[in-house]
Amino acid sequence: MSVATGWVKDFQHRYKSQLESALYFWSYLRRNTLSVIGILVIFVFILVAAFGPYFAPYNPVKGETSDRLQGPSAEHWFGTDQLGRDIFSRVIHGARVSLRIAMIVAVIAGTVGTVVGVTSGYFGALVDDLLMRVTDMFFAFPKLVLAMAVAAALGPDLENVIFAIAIASWPVYARLARGEALAVREEDYIEAIRALGAGRMRILFLHVLPMCITPIIIQVTLDMGFIILTAAGLGFIGFGAQPPTPEWGIMIAEGRNFITSQWWLSTFPGLAILVTVLGFNLLGDGLRDVLDPRLTR
């Protein structure tokens, strides 16, 4: 048999296996109505963030002053703000800002946390003591306060907000990954790989780390809501993105002077935050139920 047909066969075998596990995964996830709702919400959120700005009816930063503070109507679905900007368009653009923050923070904090935690747990002893004491220092601050402090120190800017939230959130993942690594390093299959002559770095990154990722993914999904909330909070108090960026937190802050008379200024971005955070939390719960074998099988 030629090598080429061999690879084709391999591909079919591999594909079958992946497809089966994907179907299995879906069949579990589907049973949980709330997580399906979560998936739909997140799906819509991502669609809006990705393509919404191309379909938004108005420019999010330039408004017609003549149209200022108009209530919801057929022309302006969510009304307009004090500068005459269309709130519907701003909410849509805000989704992109929020998604960007959430994704970058998740990637940075997730990666840093996982690497630190897995290293700490696998090597143990002095390395563990050292890394975990550093992690403890970060744990000593409330997350939001730490993010505020970092954001304030770096100056108000969207990039700095991302950095600040990442700094405040990685220790959780480090703890999680460490716990997993502590258990995994004692497993027979890790010893079996040592008995093949594998070096420590190979074992750590190719064999221990993949086993520690599942709980991190669940935790990151659960935390997505918090990240968006924190970013909005920082925007609200002025430490985050700066006007005229269409960021949900800023929009709420700007609308608070008008809350009694023109309710739509703060309400619609607020609802956007609510729905998105709720969606991530529902999805996170669902993922946890499916991926965590201690709770299912």
Partner: protein, 322 residues
Amino acid sequence: MSRLLQVRNLKKHFPIGGGLFRDPTDFVKAVDGVSFDIEPGEVFGVVGESGCGKTTLARSLLRLIEPTGGSVSLNGDNILEWQGSDKKRIYRHMQIVFQDPYSSLHPRKLVKDIVSEGLVIHGLAERSEVRERVLDMLQRVGLNEEHLFRYPHEFSGGQRQRIALARALVLHPQLILLDEPTSALDVSVQSKILNLLVELKEEFGLTYLIISHDLSVMQYVCDRIGVMYLGKLVEVGQTEDLFAVPKHPYTKSLIDSIPSLDPRVRRERIILEGDVPSPINPPSGCSFRTRCPYADKHCTEVEPPLEAIRDRWVACHYPLEE
């Protein structure tokens, strides 16, 4: 004949207590001065009760845990002195198959990756030939092409043990350590795996060190057997010989404990009482004396050395006669 493996006075003591700036309060003497030789092509068995240090012995031979003392010579080289990248070489010559095939295969890796790992680590195959080598090895242990891209959880215990064997064999080692290779398997599967082991030994010219507590299995596969008690070898001899005429009282008690199928046979048996003494604080003199029916004052005072009686080695002051 030149010796493949020569183990001399191997020790592994685990410290208890202790820590930074604190000396350990005591040691568990899991392996306490074990010496034996293995000839090329031989099947050497180590038997003993649970907790006698069999598995610790295997793991320290491979330096999966560092031995406390002694020497392990492979083809005349003391592998305990190999450091750094040399240490990696140990695993090209010696491989191990673990007891439990359910836990010794990485649950998130495809069979292809599990088996090829050794080739990749030691740089033994070009990328283009890895698949071929892996498939070849899978076929030799009785698996086939469609198993390449499966995960371990899709296999039965016997099949998993075959994968573990393929993983070890792909490096073409001289010596394979088998740590209770069949004890986690169904009885019907056990014999298949044992027969496979015998076939593979012929095919690859392998040498085995088998560790087990299952005497009937050992009787079937081993050329020579060493009996271990409390971290020490108490008797070493040819399998048939040893089973026919055990010289150490402990060996006799083990052999007597094999159930007989014939109820009319009344044998004079040694039945052990009590438990294995703690390896933290082993008895003075002969470590078996606390459970030995023949022990006397001399046994409590002087530890019997492992001495040769013709081609049998026994560590007992009063070896049994025929």
